[in-house]
Symmetry: C2
Subunit: 455 residues, 2 copies
């Protein structure tokens, strides 16, 4: 493609054409339609075909190497497992055979155990064994992300010998990026830059050219940590080693981009009270299942916090203005808490090397709350005083709003920090804690101050 | 480093040692301390030194090539601009000279115009000219991210000739990853895989080996879009071309990881009502400035929504239970709205190729709201009925909660979708709209139903 012709991407027009081919049963023309397309684009087209039977027809009509990459590029929530399951073991194994072992393992991991075994049985036994190894690791760990397909040379090799070796291995390994160096016992010693090898004296040993790895991970390292390390050191690939330092595999930057996206989606959704199991493209029943428990929890906590109001019914009956004040003061506390929560959770997620000053953040949020709370409290107090004509109402409003906003800043920064310290996920349930607290403080402050100052 | 010795990273111990060196004035020993460290780690250490005068001493004591990378790895909010400004033009230019042009431009872009010119004047004029070119592009565009340092060969070159050329250029270009192919007029024709070149007949032309680029961007492409395209097509680097198709530069995956992190931080903070200008490590005054305007807006909208309560003071005085019901029903509406908002905004951010079914999301959220609203409304209605002993109160609660939750789902999905359609940022201000609406609907439904059914 020259720069004049833009890349062919999945477009509504291409989609319409695809549907037409399906309806007319002219799927033989399919390879022509998707000819210049990237598997990611074909995956989008395929995922948009409404009926699974038609999706399956399309998948079967694609050449094996394109069909396999298309499946690999589909999302888990786009029913790729169902498509793979619907294929014969022979056809399924042929597709899996085309894929890198980590992609094959990801796909197989989504199948029912019975279907997984059926496919694995149809693969060459060595390949099946490698994939089984990968399937042992947790999905969200370095082991679950890594591929065992990599290029490595021995420290003992000479430069010329190493170049020949790299050329041979490189033909089998897609996008190898980095040449790893291992010692005689398979332990990682570092990497060797290709240009250093080329420029070196042919008899120089790799040993003399090896550059230490900037970082390594072990198979059980959490994927979020893998993303953080690779982003921090700008690594295009990172070696995975076991406790003895043996090189097991590598993780490349493209997996990490997916991880960072998935992890931030998770953080945003958790902060909003959506279960991290809800896929973005989930159907409505799955969404109800994922969100209802959190809403029920919120109903209980919100009602519990508001139940303090039930003890002051006489007061409210006398000063109905309080029924107006309370939800406003509670809402502003909630908003302040959300701000502090979001900043703190994001700070924790992005992380820094030293992890210093975690609790300083709490002090800062309290300071911010003291100032913001005073400004908001003063404005709202002025309004209340002007409307009700009683300076004591103004004082109630000022003190209640101010206190609630300081508490909100404190809790919004403290709760995720403590959860993190305890080894728990800082995002989960933080917001229900904070909002219950700000509701409660808002109501109690308004009502008790009013009872004390106005009656 | 062998695999037995873990990589040296910034640790509290290393930090303590650094501070000791600073205090004793033994900075000559600094290169020894940071010897095996990655510039990212040194940057963290440097950023943690409390006094700027001491930071400057440390920076000056580092060898030029390490000092330059350390500055490049510091964050914008870690005062790296101040440090660079405090250096002499000669020393500053020496540091900038060591950096890739995109990193140098990023650093210079943070300086005051006068200091920027001072540094540029001290650089070789060709280099200064290239950096000035890059400074013309917006900071959050492809032009602002790209480096002009790349490896390219001509379509007309033979394979053997191309390999020589790549070897020469590759010595100057850090991490080139991809060999770009341009025609006689400098227009991008694609890329050429290194192994194809090596395996090719030495007289084969590059023309016969060129692979079309999976995607290209122009200098004004938004950085978020660059990240999306590179993530989608798993690209380690992407070419930047102008409207005529001429190759201007390239963007590498490490910049994109930073962009994805920055953009998601922005989305989370905006959703929480924190200005996207607030840096995560902002001081408390900056935080007050960034958050107070939004809180004031919220105070106004929350008070406006709640002011409907002021028209029903007689009703509340008679049925004080309503003062308990209203904040709970408003809060649950708010929570439902936040869930729908977070899922919708994240869907928009992650994007998909076809962008189909944007408005289907709204339909789905309404369905989810119908079901969740009924369950929550029913539970809360039962509680209200049991407590107050009046089935009509139960009916008020059921209808008000149900309606509010359906509205919340609808608004939470609709508002960001419409904002996106209008070309606006879907995250900004969405949550204040949604919460004002759910407050208002909650209060109005409770009060008007109570007035109609209970009086």
């Amino acid at each position: 493609m020259s720069a004049e012709t833009p890349p062919v991407v999945a477009s509504p027009a291409a989609f319409a054409e695809l549907l037409e081919l399906v309806e007319r049963g002219e799927l033989a023309r399919l390879p022509e339609l998707v000819g210049g397309m990237h598997p990611s684009d074909i995956a989008d087209l395929l995922a948009s075909v409404p009926e699974e039977a038609h999706q399956l027809q399309v998948l079967k009509a694609l050449p094996t190497e394109i069909a396999s990459e298309t499946l690999a590029e589909m999302e888990e929530d786009e029913d790729r497992a169902e498509l793979l399951t619907a294929l014969s073991a022979r056809r399924g194994a042929a597709l899996l055979h085309e894929l890198a072992d980590d992609d094959a393992a990801d796909l197989l991991g989504e199948l029912e155990p019975r279907d997984r075994d059926r496919m694995l049985a149809a693969l060459p036994s060595e390949e099946a064994g490698e994939i089984r190894e990968l399937l042992r690791y947790g999905e969200e760990t370095a082991g679950g992300l890594m591929t065992t397909s990599l290029v490595s040379v021995s420290t003992a090799a000479g430069a010329a010998e190493a170049i020949v070796e790299i050329r041979v291995q490189g033909r089998e390994v897609e996008d190898f990026y980095t040449v790893f160096v291992v010692d005689g016992r398979g332990r990682l010693r570092g990497t060797v830059p290709l240009d250093d090898l080329i420029l070196a004296d042919p008899d120089d040993t790799v040993e003399s050219l090896v550059v230490p790895a900037a970082a390594t991970v072990t198979p059980d390292t959490d994927q979020e940590e893998v993303g953080r390390v690779m982003g921090r050191y700008n690594l295009v690939s990172i070696p995975v080693v076991n406790d003895e330092g043996s090189l097991l595999g590598r993780i490349t930057f493209d997996d990490v981009i997916d991880v960072i996206e998935a992890e931030t989606t998770e953080d945003i959704l958790k902060l909003a009270g959506v279960s991290d199991e809800e896929e973005l493209k989930a159907g409505w029943i799955e969404s109800v299942r994922s969100r209802l428990p959190w809403l029920v929890l919120n109903l209980v906590t919100a009602a519990a916090a508001a139940s303090v109001i039930l003890s002051f019914e006489d007061l409210i009956s006398e000063i109905t203005f309080l029924a107006f004040l309370m939800p406003v003061i509670a809402a502003l506390g909630g908003n302040t808490g959300t701000q502090a929560l979001a900043v703190t959770i994001r700070r924790i997620a992005v992380g820094d090397g030293l992890q210093t000053g975690r609790f300083q953040v709490v002090g800062k949020e309290v300071l911010v709350g003291l100032l913001n709370g005073f400004v908001l409290g003063f404005c709202f107090a002025l309004f209340a005083y002007v409307r009700e004509g009683d300076p004591r109402i103004g004082l109630v409003v000022l003190l209640a709003m101010w206190a609630n906003i300081v508490v909100a800043g404190f809790a919004g920064a403290m709760i995720p920090t403590v959860l993190k310290r305890l080894g728990a996920d800082p995002a989960v349930a933080s917001s229900v804690f904070v909002h219950t607290l700000t509701d409660l403080v808002g109501f109690v402050m308004v009502l008790s101050l009013a009872a004390g100052l106005l009656l």
